[in-house]
């Protein structure tokens, strides 16, 4: 199926621009706050569409290297979580620490990039 246009990222940008530059200045109190939160959520969705594909592939490779077998990213991640919980992998294992650090940095790059530089 050919991709519809404008692309999702462009639609989200247009929605955010309307909310921020036209709607927000007319609001105060509860609705201004809720609109601010809505803008933040839409921006996170836009960044997720842009970044998550490449992140997930790299995450899958790291997980496969740590666990020693292939699989999809969600299944491998649950397996790693179970291994940590069971004490089957040391929590100071350098490969584990590097993986967790990168995964958190990836998620923050989507959800709240400012947190990475605080």
């Amino acid at each position: 199926m050919p991709q519809s246009t404008p692309k999702a990222a462009v639609l989200l940008e247009a929605a955010v621009k309307y909310l921020e530059t036209e709607l927000m200045p007319t609001l105060d109190g509860y609705h201004r706050f809720q609109t601010r939160v809505t803008v933040n959520v839409l921006n996170a969705v836009r960044r997720e569409l842009e970044l998550r594909g490449a992140q997930a592939e790299a995450e899958r490779s790291r997980l496969a290297a740590i666990l020693g077998h292939e699989g999809d990213v969600e299944t491998l991640s649950i397996e790693l979580a179970e291994r940590i919980r069971a004490g089957a992998i040391a929590i100071d294992d350098p490969a584990l620490r590097a993986h967790v650090r990168q995964s958190l940095a990836d998620a923050l790059a989507i959800n709240n990039p400012k947190w990475l530089t605080r």
């Binding site: 706050f33 809720q34 939160v37 809505t38 933040n40 959520v41 996170a44 991640s77 649950i78 790693l80 979580a81 179970e82 940590i84 919980r85 004490g87 929590i91 584990l96 620490r97 993986h99 967790v100 650090r101 995964s103 958190l104 940095a105 998620a107 923050l108 959800n111 709240n112 947190w115 990475l116 605080r118």
Partner: protein
């Protein structure tokens, strides 16, 4: 209940528990949280006009069908009020309770306290020039206030949930299990907390949510400590660590609430309590505090979204912030 009914029931309650006539003025709803609703009002009592706060527990707050009820501390409105009464008696600047509502009041469970003037918004306290002197004094005040909280006799508040550090971590583990969340980062945090939970800690009353945002602050510093509803008994160092958790610095640079130094906090605590503070012990609670807050974000953000709205959904996306802070802290990168 109509707003007229509500105001007249409140007036009757004030007349009964505080003073006659109890005529209500300026009744305003301040916040409506998941667990309680807060109202501000004035009332005519014995020839003067008093300023009050009303807290009403939401009907679902003490829901016995909640599968996590009893897993982690949560006080009923009555217990919350009784803990604040014990705190005031021990010299803590806590809200002065004037009435604990009874079934006859027909308002539901709740209580009335005297209203304290001041600012609670942490970002304003951290940035506004008029709080400069307050900020300089607040870390020492936190130390002295915590020493007073930890002096409250546990026997006066026997309803508090007792949790050793290991039991505290185990309760958070149960919440994560219930939520069915499998994240390597969160599991790393929980496992680290299980491995490092202090043994042989003292056992005292613990506020449980002692942090910027729960203080009423004036130009003179902290006037009142709010939000006692997750009060518990356990390791007192929990409170010293929680006030340092990075989330509660609200972007401020200083480790204690964004406004002060650990040295000031610990020195004042040692002076007022007579107990020495081991910074490494407090650091456990600061690091584990970030894990605990990640679990808080998770449980707020994953309750039915149609019921909670956009704000709660957005909180679910904040799980990684405290986990990132946790990892930096245990790796010495904070």
């Amino acid at each position: 209940m109509s707003s007229e009914d509500f105001a007249s029931r409140l007036q009757a309650a004030i007349a009964r528990h505080v003073e006659r006539p109890g005529t209500i003025h300026d009744l305003q709803r301040l916040t409506g949280g998941a667990n309680k609703t807060t109202w501000s009002f004035d009332a005519d009592v014995a020839g003067t006009r008093g300023q009050f706060i009303l807290q009403l527990a939401s009907p679902r707050a003490d829901d016995e069908a909640n599968p996590l009820a009893g897993v982690s501390p949560h006080l009923t409105a009555d217990e919350d009020a009784r803990l604040m009464i014990a705190a005031v008696k021990a010299g803590v600047p806590a809200p002065h309770v004037r009435a604990i509502l009874k079934p006859d009041d027909a308002l539901g469970p709740g209580y009335v306290t005297e209203r304290v003037a001041g600012e609670t918004l942490a970002t304003r306290i951290l940035r506004d020039g008029r709080f400069a002197q307050a900020r300089a004094a607040m870390a020492k005040q936190c130390g002295a206030i915590l020493a007073a909280i930890h002096r409250i006799p546990v026997a006066e508040v026997p309803f508090l949930m007792k949790l050793t550090p290991a039991q505290h971590v185990a309760a958070q583990r149960r919440i994560v299990e219930y939520l069915g969340f499998h994240s390597p980062a969160l599991e790393l945090g929980l496992k680290w907390a299980e491995d490092h939970a202090p043994r042989n800690a003292r056992h005292t009353v613990v506020h449980g949510d002692f942090r910027a945002g729960n203080f009423i602050v004036g130009e003179d510093g902290i006037r009142c400590v709010l939000d006692w509803e997750i009060g518990q008994s356990g390791d007192p160092m929990q409170d010293l660590g929680w006030v340092c958790v990075k989330t509660w610095r609200f972007g401020g640079k200083q480790p204690v609430g964004g406004f002060g130094t650990r040295e000031d906090l610990f020195a004042a605590y040692e002076k007022e309590s007579g107990h020495s503070v081991d910074p490494a012990h407090v650091r456990f609670w600061e690091a584990y505090g970030s894990v605990r807050w990640a679990i808080g974000c998770l449980s707020m953000g994953t309750r039915g979204t149609e019921e909670v709205g956009i704000e709660r959904c957005a909180i679910g996306r904040r799980v990684e912030e405290p986990l990132w802070d946790f990892l930096n802290l245990i790796e010495g990168r904070d």
